[in-house]
Symmetry: D3
Subunit: 208 residues, 6 copies
């Protein structure tokens, strides 16, 4: 039906709740998450740029706002499920790609199909923008999990989410950004009052 | 961890919303859906029993309350997605089965594992109880879609859901139940006031 | 109007929230509660059957899924209110029975009225299925209250609900089930992390 | 425990939803309803005062803000249920009164008990303030039902609520207020755009 | 359009959430808040009357139920924002007054305009009723903030709201009411179980 | 406190609901809105680029994701309020700017302050990116209002919002984008089934 249908489908992502099935004090939808990721990425791209790295802003813009679009097809399948086995993860990724392909061929006018195929492909590649996306996406997991722990959510899922995302961030190949996160922001996170002791959890991971 | 963990995980199904991502005037969770299915099935089993069919009530009880348990792993992936291609559907079914197997082996005490493997397998088989489950599950789609159409939901998804579920019910091999549904209940459905004209849609399918 | 109206009224139970008027971190509706009760009961019936007790599965199925149906008439009046005085409790029970009688006579087709009168009567009798229903119903109170305490709900109502339901379970005449609950499941409950100290509360009741 | 406990219990009324169990596009809690009733009553009292009637403002204030306080005990039991039979209605009223009595004796300090017994008793008496309360309470039913009909809610309950409340208002012994309602406000209500044809329904009642 | 439009606009206040933008375990709308304020004010007016003060009940009734009506125009702008600078506060107050003036001139029939101008003006003046309104309004901030702290909300906003409102109450020129609040009610508040230590916070302010 | 505090404040925008105080079938928060605006803008920028216009993608990225950030201070004050008088609008804009200035000076580290002052200033300037932002922002009003009209929301606000936003779009100085919107997308919008007759409303505006 065209771009109108594409724009209408964006509304669907406002109804897809992250971490479906788990108890949480506050829900987040995929649309709002995408916006937060685009904000985090812009900040760290600024740090990188200030340190002499050349940023392709168009690419970063495209990657961040589109990185979860495929969730309109199969929803936000929990990270633990995705990673239950490498084989299962691969199968789910394949399903998403097939659905996206079908969507673009059926709904997007021919003249825009190449642009959409480019924009909707997996964004977490080895480019600096791909690494910034990975950092921003994991950072939102840190913040979502942190907020639950801070308010006393004892579900082990959020503890695991916090720890896993934190570990992944610390290994991303963006030395200046990771260093700023670790030396400045993480200090502020640990200084916050929290029902569950996030400071100890964080320190344990930092000394690893 | 055992049965306690299994019981706690049931709570997750109260947080899995059916038809995620679509606009709806009223949301339904998978736990409540399972209860409604167990009610519909009991009613139609009574009709069948009154007509001389022998019902295995234990089996019907097991099939109805467990038929969507696997959704704690990958959520309620929309029917249209499931059926996008037979290949995709098969892949998703396979993922669910693998997750369920893993869950039973990890969480259920050894002594209860055979019982759980039996109860958690696909229930929609060729037995009379399997067919009653199919009827009850489709009937809930009819009711969910009907309620949305009645209140003026113009999303094409619910129209399609109503039509598809209705067509499937009419073909189920339970002549007495289907006849009761068609000749008594469907008349009452068509007699209801409705913002979208459900009567015409229904009549069109009946004459096919 | 018939069975269609009965099926539509089931939807009402999805909108009746348990413990109305109290603050809770997570709400539960009566439909989802009924499903969880039917799950708990099936598990403990399996334990009893494994120990040589004969289970009438049809009866257990009927009792569990219908046990709160009368709440479509007067809602989930809080347990403390019900028990404020034996006289008040009796009056409320009487109101519910009268409403149910009226509903069956007005809405259910004549041919099905005897079945409905049988299914909708109070299920918590002295049969093994009646006791399993009582156990399952109280167990859901334990789980609902536990989840609130675990997340730091200081409302005295949930503490009382937890204690009262626990005490009642320990006195139900189903030795094998109660023993499994006490010796296995309760240990897992006490091992969970919790904002409010559920372990001490539980131990205090166990030594009584 | 005293006035603190009384003030805390007011919060409960924010969680009691009117018309529990029915589908509605918009929910209303008993606290907000009480505020709207106190607003309607003040307006019509002004009309009466302008026409020479003496208003006891303290009494009107007390009656309107307290008229549904007893719902903290048994919730908002639907009007149709209340009126299913005069006997049932009487029983429920009796239950509420007993609970209120118990609450005042247990929670309110002795020095304030007489004031609370006076304020919490049934307010819809034959005084002008009692009649203003009745008018205001029914007017909120008119507005709640109207809003649902206007948005296309086909549940017969709201049609009945609109019609019943409207008929009752037209018979209240407050000629100036009822006349203003009928000749000015009802014209504005009928002039509103509405998915369900409220104008015809209203005109039918007016000609009775 | 007249009084009908005014009554319809009251519904808007049920959708205006207090403290927008902050995380809270429980939301409160402005309509329900207004009702609670009218309840608190009635109680303290009773205390004052018992101590020989003459209460203008009509004025108190008008002041309490109308004090936040202007929020239908610009919503509940957070207290910290309002007070960011005296200049900003003054500007926002001016905006509200202009909107209210416009509303009355456009929507309220001429005959009722003087009454509405009187009722909708700022109520917190130096009269005893103005001081009772101020006390009641601040008390609701105390209760809202207390409930969040009690459940473990670590947002600094609620701590500040609790402290600020408490300090203001203690300085209001209603010696009997403030003394009752301080010597009776505040003791009960401090005796409550709470995830965040409200007792210490309160004691610190009392010794100031 | 630094960037951590800035990132935490983004969460606030997930709790600011657009069009506060109006009844709507579906709510939208400011974070999700910002994401949709960044998507619309990217699409129309592509159209412009395809027609030879040079796009500053970094600027477009910055403008779209930040354009409503100031709403964390005073919320989403309804468009009609904003435009009640040019004087009021100017005052509110001034308040927002003052709050933003204060926030940057207090919370953002000195080294990043120039970047934040640049990014947080009003984005709807005369540049092509400023015009794309204006188009995208108005388009989201069109979609939000359209969805309400389609589902039968009779609130005059949404009709006015649809009409006003549509008229503004048609006058934006981006001939290629506006032409695509008008000749392709608007046809698809008018072809949709809708409870309220959006087609006629749209045609009336097109012929103006």
């Amino acid at each position: 039906m065209g771009i109108h249908k594409f724009f209408m489908s964006m509304n669907d992502l406002e109804r897809i709740i992250r971490c479906p099935g788990r108890f949480k004090f506050e829900e987040h939808n995929v649309a709002a998450h995408s916006w937060k990721v685009s904000q985090y990425a812009m900040f760290f791209a600024t740090i990188e740029e200030n340190n002499g790295i050349i940023i392709n802003w168009k690419s970063l813009y495209e990657k961040t706002i589109n990185h979860d679009f495929a969730e309109i097809f199969i929803g936000d399948i929990k990270t633990p499920v995705k990673h239950a086995s490498p084989e299962l993860k691969q199968m789910l990724t394949h399903v998403e790609e097939k659905m996206m392909e079908k969507f673009i061929l059926n709904e997007i006018p021919k003249e825009f199909q190449p642009v959409f195929f480019e924009r909707m492909k997996e964004g977490k590649d080895a480019t600096v923008e791909g690494r910034l996306l990975e950092l921003a996406d994991k950072l939102d997991q840190v913040y979502e999990a942190f907020a639950e722990l801070q308010r006393g959510n004892t579900d082990a899922e959020f503890l695991k989410m916090y720890e896993t995302a934190l570990r992944k961030i610390l290994q991303i190949q963006l030395p200046k950004s990771v260093s700023y996160f670790k030396e400045v922001m993480l200090q502020d996170i640990m200084a916050e009052e929290s029902v569950i002791d996030v400071k100890s959890i964080t320190l344990k991971i930092l000394v690893e």
